[in-house]
Amino acid sequence: MENLIALLIAAPLLGAAVLLCGGRRLDAVGHWIGTVLAAASFVLGVVLFTGMLGKAADHRTLTQHLFSWIPVGGFQADVTFRLDQLSMTFVLLITGVGSLIHLYSVGYMEHDERRRRFFGYLNLFLAAMLLLVLADNYLLLYVGWEGVGLASYLLIGFWQHKPSAATAAKKAFLVNRVGDMGLSIAIMLMFTTFGTFAFGPVFADVDRTGQGKLTAIGLMLLLAACGKSAQVPLQSWLGDAMEGPTPVSALIHAATMVTAGVYLIVRSGAIFNAAPDAQLAVTVVGAVTLLFGAIVGCAKDDIKKALAGSTMSQIGYMVLAAGLGPIGYVFAIMHLVTHGFFKAGLFLGAGSVMHGMNDEVDMRRYGGLRKYMPVTFVTFGLGYLAIIGFPGLSGFFSKDKIIEAAFAKGGTEGWILGGAALLGAAITAYYMTRVMLMTFFGEERWRNAPTPSPAEPSVEPAAETRGEHAEPHPHESPGVMTIPMIVLAFGSVFAGGLFSVGDRFLRWLEPVTGHSEGHSPVSALTVTASTLVLLVVGAGIAYAQYGRRPVPAVAPRGSLLTRAARRDLLQDDFNHVVLVRGGEHLTRSLVYVDHTLVDGVVNGTAASVGGLSGRLRRLQNGYARSYAVSMFGGAAVLVALTLLMRAV
């Protein structure tokens, strides 16, 4: 049984290798190879899952030791996989959603001549992500961690001829690198503290070490999580990441990779449990981000960026939950899974819309599409209901639990966090309704000439590369694209219920993450009720704004907040001014210093020597007579010396 674990990773890895090295002769079948291998990994996952279900709750952890990776003195890093309930959950999510999105991409990327490479990258991503969740020690996890970063870099920048895409990819990688720095420092800290960085021993020794070390480790892990999961302050890359093809946004930047941060925190639960300060930081980050993302999501007219903002905010929820400790771990993961379903579905829906609209992404040029693409409309709609937490759908269960848990943390913190979560729910309802209305309802704004909107200049290259610019003829997407959407829609409808009935999910994960019921100051019922009320309010406002009144084709100037939100709350401007400009100045001045100062000293010495020898050269004037003088003088000196010798 254990030996199958490696195969989980091997399958997509093989796919990546074959597709990337295979060359053009694979262009015809490449996408199918990729899809099949992803599916194979999924099947394998299911097999392992069933096998795991067969065992007792405490004996479900499988480990597979492949080989010793870096053995240097006390530093022993092995390639060992660990498959327990937590990683199992992720394996199924990753491979499942992954396979579906592979299938979807077959249709979506049909017209791209580099489709083979696209699937190669997708497989690479799957492999890296699986490595991340299956690793048994932090260093191996780090490999997967950066591996997904690489895959996301490649996929965001897949249309590299678009400067915007290339820039976005670079930005994503760099911001992630900052997070990775946190992870590596955390690993070093673990090594110095515990002498190892394998999960088991580290968690076992947690109680033997001081508070401070653990807090430091926790904060470093949080930094890593912020980078990968686009949490404040490292969230700026996610919006730009939407430059990538939509399936990528769905798989990497909604369902799986961006949730890695949550996985990291939950996985390191033992450490965080022992470091309350770090936990507090985590919750704060989560709360801030969930509001931040929601606000940004409200202002964006680009459908994908709006969804990206939503992703940010939803992950904020998860991080918040993860920060709550044992109360929240399970719900964090649960929301993570359900979110994986509905957000992937939403993105695929958005992709399908764009597919039908010549890659127009500006929602102000959509409208009334429900007639033209019914399947997309229905699936998207279900996803919408799920995310806003419509009673009975996935989002309702998971999000509701998180809000309760937030309150359950108790004390003022509990109130603040819970309040933030509630507010977030309301805003979520608002911006999602807005998206829904602008896209599928209202009059058909795309009828009049589709001049590219000034707000989204990056659209033009996309349009000219994939499909010509013309009056769009919205149409339903082919089967390969709709089927995954339908499946995901099912997921987003039923997953929540499936998990929550009889706390299945809770009992499934408890052996790994542990669980404790917090005593909530407000009853679960109150929370649910207030959530629903806020939900209605948010949706209502959105309807009032976008359902009743016609939507202007060009975005109005909007209030100060709106404009700020359109610019990601000025976060990018800050980065630009402080980091980019500053960095440029720094490097330029350093180049100058290196050339004038450091090198100048060297060249100066050389020049002075040259000058001196130039002066000495004058003595060698070539006149035999002056040489003769020196010889004669020398002879005289010698005579003098001999005489002196005799005298002495």
């Binding site: 004037n621 006149y623 007579r625 002056s626 003088v629 004669f632 003088g633 002879a635 005289a636 005579v639 003098a640 005489l643």
Partner: protein
């Protein structure tokens, strides 16, 4: 052998001779250095050498004395003179120093070195002379011969080889290999025409009864000298004797005298006119 040679002090005769000729030698040496013209230097040097020859004799080196006169003063100095002629007898090089500080350094070193030498000799204990009495017992030349052909025979042979080599070397050095074929008259004339200057042969030097004329520039009608008329070698050596001004003054004198005569007789005037026309 005169007994003085063995003595610690020499005879007053030799002393007298030393002081007189020594002075001459030093003066000669100084002149060698300070004469403007190489010829004079050579002659002064010859003088010095003869004096030295006398000193050799006085020192009992009869053979060397003669050799000195024959080889040095006779052969070598003549060789010098020969070369001096070749390079230019009357070319006087200025004693003005061109290299900065050279002269002063030279004098300084010279004086210093001299002083040191003299000091060295002075404080060397050279009081006892055992003279050449024994050595020259059966003739100076025989003595030398005995040494040369026994003890120094190899050195002797080698010097022979050296002389041969030197002779050959001199020939090699002075022998000029003609790299290109000598140009014929025709070619030369063609070249002249091509260059377009001096198409006719160069003008002849001015000829006057009272000079040998080769080194005298011919005069242009206005009485100034023309370089072209003197051979290149002389020009290089700067050995052109310019007589234009004295010629002009002669002409003046002539006319003056003619004028004096004219006051007596009118009949010469047309002749003078005629001569003027001729001169035009």
């Amino acid at each position: 052998m005169s007994p003085q040679l063995a003595a610690y002090t020499t005879s007053t005769g030799e002393a007298f001779q030393f002081w007189v000729l020594g002075t001459v030698a030093v003066i000669g040496a100084l002149c060698t250095v300070f004469m403007k013209k190489a010829v004079h230097s050579a002659l002064c040097l010859a003088g010095t050498m003869i004096v030295l020859a006398v000193f050799y004799l006085a020192n009992g080196a009869y053979f060397l004395g003669i050799v000195q006169i024959v080889v040095y003063t006779g052969a070598i100095m003549m060789l010098f003179l020969f070369v001096v002629m070749l390079v230019g007898v009357t070319a006087a090089d200025s004693l003005k120093e061109t290299i900065k500080g050279q002269r002063w350094l030279a004098l300084l070193c010279g004086v210093g070195f001299g002083v040191l030498l003299l000091a060295g000799i002075a404080n060397a204990s050279l009081k006892d002379f055992d003279g050449l009495g024994k050595a020259n017992a059966n003739g100076n030349v025989e003595g030398l011969a005995a040494l040369i052909f026994t003890k120094y025979v190899f050195a002797f042979e080698i010097t022979g080889a050296l002389l041969i080599t030197a002779a050959v070397g001199a020939m090699v050095l002075t022998h000029r290999e003609r790299t290109e074929r000598a140009r014929t008259q025709r070619e030369l004339s063609e070249q002249r025409v091509r260059e377009g200057k001096h198409v006719p042969p160069l003008p002849a030097p001015g000829v006057y009864a009272r000079h040998n004329a080769v080194d005298i520039a011919g005069l242009l009608p206005d009485g100034t000298a023309s370089e072209l008329t003197v051979s290149k070698t002389l020009r290089d050596r700067g050995q052109i004797r310019d007589v234009s001004d004295e010629a002009i003054s002669d002409l003046k004198a002539l006319e003056q005298r003619a004028a004096e005569r004219l006051e007596r007789g009118e009949d010469e005037r047309p002749a003078l006119k005629r001569s003027e026309e001729a001169s035009k």
